[in-house]
């Protein structure tokens, strides 16, 4: 069965990636985890994602396209105007994902528990939806 595991991180966790003193340990933990999954032969696909401020959120309402800076909370949009301010430091956002091919949920949860983000923020496991019947 395929599961997507989503690694959630806070703004502080994202900042660790470019912290000269702490990045080596932080990225080393991730590299060790991903290598272990690769050696177990369960990775279908996966990637880390650039931080939320590099993202752009697209909405189309009544034929009008509005764009929003990914670093801003996805609060109510009125006439394309963003209503909410920047993210609080504690807000978690997806920092990476993997699709795993594993026998069952328990195995997927076991791997999710080993992810560094499970210890400092959170990791979510979602079953991949089976193909829609033709």
């Amino acid at each position: 069965m395929q599961y997507m595991i989503l690694f959630n991180e806070t703004a502080r966790d994202f900042a660790l990636r470019s912290d000269p003193t702490r990045a080596p340990a932080h990225m080393g933990a991730w590299a060790a985890y991903i290598d272990a999954m690769a050696k177990a032969g369960i990775i279908v696909h996966g990637n880390g994602l650039m931080p939320p401020e590099t993202g752009t959120i697209v909405r189309v309402r009544n034929g009008v396209r509005s764009l929003q800076d990914g670093a801003l909370q996805d609060g109510a949009l009125q006439d394309g105007a963003v209503q909410d301010g920047p993210y609080a430091d504690s807000k978690e956002q997806v920092g990476g994902y993997f699709i795993l091919e594993v026998p069952d949920l328990d195995t997927a949860l076991e791997w999710a528990a080993r992810s560094p983000s499970a210890s400092y923020a959170s990791t979510e496991v979602r079953p991949v939806m089976p193909p829609m019947p033709q």
Binding site: A32, Y33, D35, A36, S119
Partner: protein, 366 residues
């Protein structure tokens, strides 16, 4: 859509005493032991309950204890029930924990744990599992199931003892509590004493497993002054009592291994040869992957890293974090630095505990 029978079981506590006695006992046990503040309070209540039980046991020379919790434990650990759900069932039936908390303890989604508990209870009823204590001849294998489930719960609690979130904290204590209950109810069961001794020795070292900054401290580096002496003494007394029965078993052997480690408080050194010998016996009784990997670790520390590595190679338990950590240690002792670094990294990648992960990655860099 749950079956009607399963649904009925779930609603019993809310509907008062049902016709079936085992259900009544489950409800009664929950009422007695559940629905109250846990942790600090549980120790006091447990102490009182255990004192009462000891009195009851003495006034019942036939050994027929009126305490229903023992029956409950045996029902929960019946061989017909999925071993994976036995410890959760005990925690619910005997300690009164709710499904959500048990789910958190065992790292399972609450809804899934709820379903498994309901299924297991339906199985108890539909399969007609009796509520009587097993006959004396059947007792040892059945007791083994009870002890194994408690041990599994303790193992989960041990792994998660330092989890940042408090949801896991307490499972180890609850497992110790269950073991105390079994020892009090079955004073002749040497293996039950072995299990309790084993867990107390492990609990005694808990304060030394992390340093002041929260960093992982491996056993060899732990400050023995931080080990809990009274707990170790209680464990030693239990082990001596168990040994008098002259019926050695897996859990007594594991406790004896802990006992050798505890001797370091007096001698300042660890007798690895004794530990290797004990693991040799243990591997004959119970050749599990966990035991074999621990035996390989002891061999390496006793000065035999080559046979240690050979034993690990034969096991090839590549999804088991301790296998990689042990392999890394043996490779280090053999001077195979590059392979050791890769093994430390792999062990780190399989760790769920950030402090252990950090320590292993530091070893890979060293």
């Amino acid at each position: 859509m749950p079956r009607a029978s399963a649904w009925r079981w779930k609603t019993w506590p809310a509907r008062g005493i049902p016709a079936r006695p085992e259900a009544w006992l489950l409800t009664a046990a929950r009422r007695v032991l559940g629905h109250r503040a846990r942790h600090a309070q549980v120790r006091n209540v447990a102490a009182t309950a255990l004192a009462q039980l000891a009195e009851e046991a003495q006034s019942n020379p036939a050994g027929a204890t009126p305490d229903h919790r023992l029956n409950l434990l045996f029902v929960c650990a019946h061989p017909a029930i999925d071993p994976a759900i036995q410890a959760p069932l005990m925690l619910q039936a005997v300690l009164g924990l709710d499904a959500a908390r048990i789910a958190a303890c065992f790292l399972v989604p609450p809804a899934a744990m709820g379903q498994r508990l309901v299924r297991a209870k339906a199985k108890i009823r539909d399969a007609g599992i009796g509520f009587a204590l097993p006959a004396p001849a059947d007792l040892p294998p059945r007791l083994d199931g009870v002890l194994r489930a408690i041990y599994a719960a303790y193992g989960t609690g041990w792994d998660e003892a330092f989890a940042a979130e408090s949801r896991h904290v307490g499972l180890a204590e609850e497992a110790v509590w269950l073991a105390r209950l079994v020892v009090a109810l079955l004073p002749d069961a040497a293996e039950a004493k072995g299990l309790l001794a084993l867990m107390l020795h492990c609990e005694a070292r808990r304060p030394a497993r992390r340093d002041g900054s929260g960093a992982f401290v491996p056993l060899a580096r732990q400050d023995t002054a931080r080990w809990d002496r009274p707990m170790m003494e209680e464990a030693e007394a239990l082990l001596r009592e168990a040994a008098r029965a002259a019926t050695p078993g897996r859990l007594q052997l594991e406790a004896a291994i802990q006992s050798v480690h505890a001797e370091r408080t007096a001698t300042g050194r660890t007798d690895w040869q004794a530990i290797v010998a004990l693991y040799g016996l243990l591997a004959q009784l119970s050749p599990t992957v966990g035991v074999q990997v621990a035996r390989a670790a002891a061999l390496a520390e006793a000065g035999d890293p080559a046979p240690s590595l050979a034993l690990l190679d034969a096991l090839a338990a590549t999804d088991y974090q301790p296998w990689w950590a042990c392999r890394a240690r043996a490779l280090t002792l053999l001077g195979r630095r590059a392979e050791a670094q890769a093994a430390f990294r792999h062990a780190a990648g399989l760790s769920t505990d950030p402090a252990v992960r950090t320590w292993l990655l530091a070893q890979a860099e060293a």
